[in-house]
């Protein structure tokens, strides 16, 4: 029930209206503070998923807008960061489904080379691009964000079994893409 309609209880009018006005302002402040302080982390995570700064910006923009809309839910979550990771991942996966995304995907590989990349970073990033988006998201959430299989399943809106299979396939795709260069390093990873 919307707070504004619910709150107009006889005899308690000023209190409920005051609470509404104060709460709105307070939440907004909290949200702004949170997003400002987490912007580098959000940008890095989005970049890892998208492998392109422009698209990472788009994904972050979508995610923080969604976060504003659902800030009441986010602030009540046990782990706000985990909630935000989920919002961001879903923004990434939704963006990948759009027509625009499919159109520009052809250019991904060339655009992914950044001037400041180290050889390893470049190799990993190019290999990541060869991993399908859902598998890439599973890898990033499981291994970069250290999320559990259960939490990853929630973020990806799938079962734990699907997370395991997506992770396994993702690792295989990553190994293939990196060739001999990372075989040893990835051998110890699950999957």
């Amino acid at each position: 029930m919307p707070e504004d309609l619910d709150s107009e209880v006889m005899g308690n009018l000023p209190a409920t209206r005051a609470r509404r006005i104060v709460v709105r302002a307070e939440w907004r402040d909290e949200y702004v503070e949170y997003v400002r302080s987490h912007m580098p982390w959000l940008g890095k995570l989005a970049y890892l998923l998208c492998q392109d700064w422009d698209r990472a910006d788009d994904v972050v923009q979508t995610a923080i807008t969604q976060l504003y809309v659902h800030w009441g839910k986010a602030r009540a979550a046990d782990n706000v960061d985990a909630y935000v990771r989920t919002v961001l991942t879903r923004a990434f996966l939704n963006e990948r489904r759009s027509a625009w995304s499919r159109r520009v995907q052809l250019q991904d590989f060339d655009r992914s080379v950044e001037a400041d990349d180290t050889a390893t970073a470049l190799a990993v990033r190019q290999a990541l691009l060869a991993v399908p988006p859902r598998q890439r998201a599973a890898l990033v959430l499981r291994y970069y964000c250290d999320m559990s299989i259960e939490d990853t399943a929630v973020a990806l809106r799938c079962t734990t079994g699907t997370v395991k299979s997506q992770t396994s396939k993702g690792l295989r795709a990553l190994r293939r893409a990196m060739g001999g260069e990372a075989d040893g390093r990835l051998a110890h990873s699950a999957g």
Partner: protein, 316 residues
């Protein structure tokens, strides 16, 4: 696992470019989405639920009440394109009893009054020219574009109000009714009643005695300086308590409650004093407890809240 983590760290280690992410844009877009969502929720709700919650109807109309002399109110000489932020736009004429609680709100593109005697409730909603009033009884977000109105929910009303009048069936119920009409050729007003024995009769009486026209409102607070362009006010009076809010551009606002509301703000310095008074502060909010027992809340993002607090005068 650690090895993959290291590889991913390396992949993410490319120095970030200057980000084009716009936090203000996210807030603005988010606000719009919330408004649309709330409006959608309300519009999607069953009329019975809306009527039950928003309470449109009246019980105080005695049977056999003589018809009041019909006054068409004082129509403003010109149709307003926006409301002045320190004026109310209408005054009630006939009411079944003296109200115990009332809310008066004016913003640039909407005006609302809500009154009750503890049993019946009456709501007045007005918009300036070029806007229309949403159908379901939203209390603040009702000023909408005319094309957003589903006119099939409007039923022609045979009421002598001088101009086209309609019953808003979205707010109709066993004890509720809403009557809307054009108070100028291009601007709408709606009177809704709730919890009434004869809701349509009650709405008709209130509508025909309503005095329409701008009138300055004497608020219990004023500012000696304004932080930005004024956007509107909100005055709530409930028996011996009152709550007044002045709204300015950029979400800036000052709210004063005549009694302590024990307002809290999340982070910041909860225990401080301002001019010797108990206060709490964050970067953009300030709450001050007055010696009279009144509580002041100031919201001014990115600017000096204490300065704005010092512009405030409480006059009641």
């Amino acid at each position: 696992m650690d090895d993959l983590r290291i590889l991913l760290d390396e992949a993410a280690s490319t120095p970030a470019r200057r980000s084009a992410v716009d936090l203000d844009l996210a807030v603005r877009t988010g606000e719009r989405m919330i408004r649309r969502r709330r409006l959608g929720w309300i519009m999607g709700a069953a009329a019975g639920v809306v009527l039950g919650v928003a309470a449109v109807a009246v019980s105080g109309l005695p049977n056999g009440l003589p018809q009041p002399a019909i006054s068409r109110g004082t129509t403003p000489p010109e149709t307003p394109v926006f409301f002045q932020p320190d004026e109310k736009q209408a005054s009630f004429g006939w009411l079944p009893a003296e109200p115990a609680e009332r809310v008066v709100q004016t913003h640039r593109d909407w005006h609302r009054q809500w009154i009750t005697n503890g049993s019946w409730q009456v709501e007045l909603r007005m918009v300036p020219s070029g806007k229309d009033i949403e159908l379901n009884g939203n209390d603040e977000l009702f000023s909408v574009a005319p094309e957003q109105i589903d006119r099939t929910k409007l039923e022609r009303a045979d009421v002598a109000l001088g101009r086209e009048a309609s019953w808003n069936t979205a707010r109709r119920g066993p004890r509720g009714a809403a009557l809307r009409w054009k108070y100028t050729p291009t601007a709408w007003v709606e009177v809704a009643v709730g919890n009434a024995d004869s809701p349509e009769e009650m709405a008709r009486h209130i509508a025909t005695t309503l005095q329409i026209g701008p009138q300055k409102v004497k608020l219990p607070i004023r500012m000696t300086q304004t932080p930005s362009a004024p956007e509107g006010f909100d005055l709530t009076e409930s028996r011996d308590k009152w709550l007044a809010t002045l709204w300015y551009q950029d979400s800036v606002r000052v709210l004063v409650s005549s009694v302590k509301q024990s307002m809290t703000i999340g982070s910041g310095d909860p225990q401080t004093t301002v001019d010797g008074k108990e206060a709490s502060r964050t970067e953009s909010t300030l709450i001050v407890l007055e010696p009279s027992g009144a509580e002041v809340f100031v919201y001014r993002p990115g600017r000096d809240t204490i300065e704005m607090y010092r512009w405030l005068r409480i006059e009641r």
